[in-house]
Symmetry: C2
Subunit: 497 residues, 2 copies
Amino acid sequence: MLETRIRRPSLLDRITTPQQAAALIKDGMIIGMSGFTRAGDAKAVPIAMAERAKTDPFKITLITGASLGHDIDRMLTEAHVLSRRIPFQSDATLRAAINRGEVMFVDQHLSETVEHLRSNQLGPIDYAVIEAAAITEDGGIVPSTSIGNSASFAILAKKIIVEINLSQPAELEGLHDIYIPTKRPSRVPIPVVACDSRVGFPYVPIDPEKIAAIVVTDVKDSFSTVEPADVDTKAIASHLIHFLEQEVEKGRLDLTLQPLQAGIGTIANSVLTGLSDGPFHHLRMYSEVLQDSTFDLFDAGKLTFASGSSITLSAACAERVFGQFDKYKEKLVLRPQEISNHPEVIRRLGVIGINTALEVDIYGNVNSTHVNGTHMMNGIGGSGDFARNAYLSIFVTKSVAKGGKLSSVVPMVPHVDHTEHDVDIIVTENGLADLRELAPRERAGQIIANCAHPDFRDRLADYFQRASVRGGQTPHLLEEAFSWHERSRQTGTMRLG
Amino acid sequence: MLETRIRRPSLLDRITTPQQAAALIKDGMIIGMSGFTRAGDAKAVPIAMAERAKTDPFKITLITGASLGHDIDRMLTEAHVLSRRIPFQSDATLRAAINRGEVMFVDQHLSETVEHLRSNQLGPIDYAVIEAAAITEDGGIVPSTSIGNSASFAILAKKIIVEINLSQPAELEGLHDIYIPTKRPSRVPIPVVACDSRVGFPYVPIDPEKIAAIVVTDVKDSFSTVEPADVDTKAIASHLIHFLEQEVEKGRLDLTLQPLQAGIGTIANSVLTGLSDGPFHHLRMYSEVLQDSTFDLFDAGKLTFASGSSITLSAACAERVFGQFDKYKEKLVLRPQEISNHPEVIRRLGVIGINTALEVDIYGNVNSTHVNGTHMMNGIGGSGDFARNAYLSIFVTKSVAKGGKLSSVVPMVPHVDHTEHDVDIIVTENGLADLRELAPRERAGQIIANCAHPDFRDRLADYFQRASVRGGQTPHLLEEAFSWHERSRQTGTMRLG
């Protein structure tokens, strides 16, 4: 069995224990680890690192693709291993440490991290720790359920630790398309011209001598905790379907739409699934994470192809998909996140990007990351890569949070991740605001009337009206702009009285 | 003479007066006009439009490349012709009308406007009004000192009015490289792989039957009002040279650097000129507007090639350059602003982008556009296209404004054009903050210590320290974050006491 997973015999004697592999990691090192939205993360070595740190303290800079599963960020945080964390996370314990200022978190556009590594603005990577489905005869690494930044980590690292995960289906081999942009100044166009373009290798080509250790594991990916659609997400999907139907009527789109992207999380996932209720067909995805919705759309006969950087599924969906993976494999490709999220390709293909906002303001600026403007949730992820370059940049959110105490439409967002320039459409369960080619004052009218919750609508309209008296392209009352957030911080609610 | 400028004889009978051409424009039309940073704007028809509107009122949506010269935006505003203005302006009278809410101003990334037109999200263009140096035998339009959005305006418009400007040098022909991205879903990579790539036509290919009128003019472009370097801009340039030298020492750059971009305006222009004092050589530019600094660098023997979308010069520099244009022509190309500012090309080439901030906050978010967070100055222009996709995104500003009353480094910017993710380096006359791979709390330390004016430094440090006690990835005191701007609005100064 192991010989089919490690097909270069000379590497078999590098198999070791997680503890011995973890012992290679020294204080102050920069480590690049596989893992993107809980998929394809290294599962044994990081846990052994956390164990070791309990008696042998050390600190590292940890760079990943995106979020990790298996509570790895929690364990590394509790063991005080992390001094710096790049470019995304979604763990509650790590989040708290970040917000206490104990871990320096560099929140980065997901397409950009390996650009910084390649130009030596970040790095060098001391060890890449990469989960693989197999190692080829040439020593090439076949990733598992995600690529993320793994390919560049392995290529740029001084040394590599590979985790061969026997629980990952051998059929994953052939799924990946590893393309690395050529070096500047002779960089050529990225040849991806369609969702199903294959332009690279099915494995990461590396010098096998760089493989310092191989650890064999047999642990499944953490399942996603995506929640089922509810009445609000169904309403959001319904508004979006209606809007897209109108775009088809106006001749701007046909029923195959444009390649779709949906951000990580329950709302975007539910909305994408909801598109199967529309008249659309032969849909394609050019996204970063492929969630349950992708396979729901395949099974509904609506989707013809999906390109992503990871596959992150609920337990039930994982069983369905990996139990009959050959049914889907020909319609899938996984790419490095640099390519799945590349401005060049997203703009070329004309992607329809659907991302989740934490809150939006009356002019359409979006906060995706900072609770009350100060405390990090997860990170900007790929939302900026897509929103900036999309053919249509759509943000979805429920109009209230915390049982109705917080309005997701506010006078001014206290943290801006996406400026009004990068936000075309906002949808809540109440309705849809089409902001294209509107000036800020016009945008306010649309957002307040269509998206805000009725309980907060009058106060927003009143704020806008009083601000407009003072004039400006983007009217505000600065002394009052954050009063809703101040009330929320002090009393837990944005409601009056 | 005219036959060399209008080389298709059948078009000679379309020559008419500005008044007759202006009479073609009807109320409610969408007009696409040439003009980018005062260069290559139509100079007769828009003035005739403003005249006509005094007795025959009408309103239009006016889309340009960027800002116009010759007070055209002023005249059209005073004649109440503008209902909507896209995507950039820099006129004081129009600015005031925008801030009163009388003209709806859609402030757009300069690379994006024609994408919206091409996909029918904006438009259709009723008339394109385009200044040209010549019309070819085939009816192709040879632009003058800018391309901006003119090529797509002409291609997409129902009808075209051409202004043949005899004062524009005939030698401009051959300078332009008109490449239009192919239609989706079969769009192919933009083949620009170097600053000097030539990938298109030297004229705009159109159906000559669309030319409804030709007006002959003989009026020079408005000169730029760029101010000479002063002690502060020299200090900024000096800090930047020192930083770039260090990057060379670290092996991240060589002495030819990466292709350079500099935003419009005095500070960026002065800083770019200042680079001639460094050890750099064989520099290249991939920019939007080519200002005096470009030709200063050519004349200093430092620059080998410059790509832009317009040439905007002071009177003295214009005389020098256009008096001996053959000396420069082989080292220049003008492109549509969609290409000069395209994320795909900027990222591929690895541009070093130098743009001017109105103000920055302690975490490195940048306000480029809104005075006191509400009142529009000019617009975001191309700064976002470059800052997001640059190899190095540099923002420059003097540390104080209004004779020292306003700090350009503030606790929180009240309008965000560029988020901290897109800002690598901030330089003021006091010093340089290298923000790469730093978390927000670390960024604050750098910015306050290196960039803030000494008169405001302690108050910024105090704000940051008190905010940090409250915790968070990006600490703030929301109730106080805009207190500096509130003071400024009410008293004209951010200073205390």
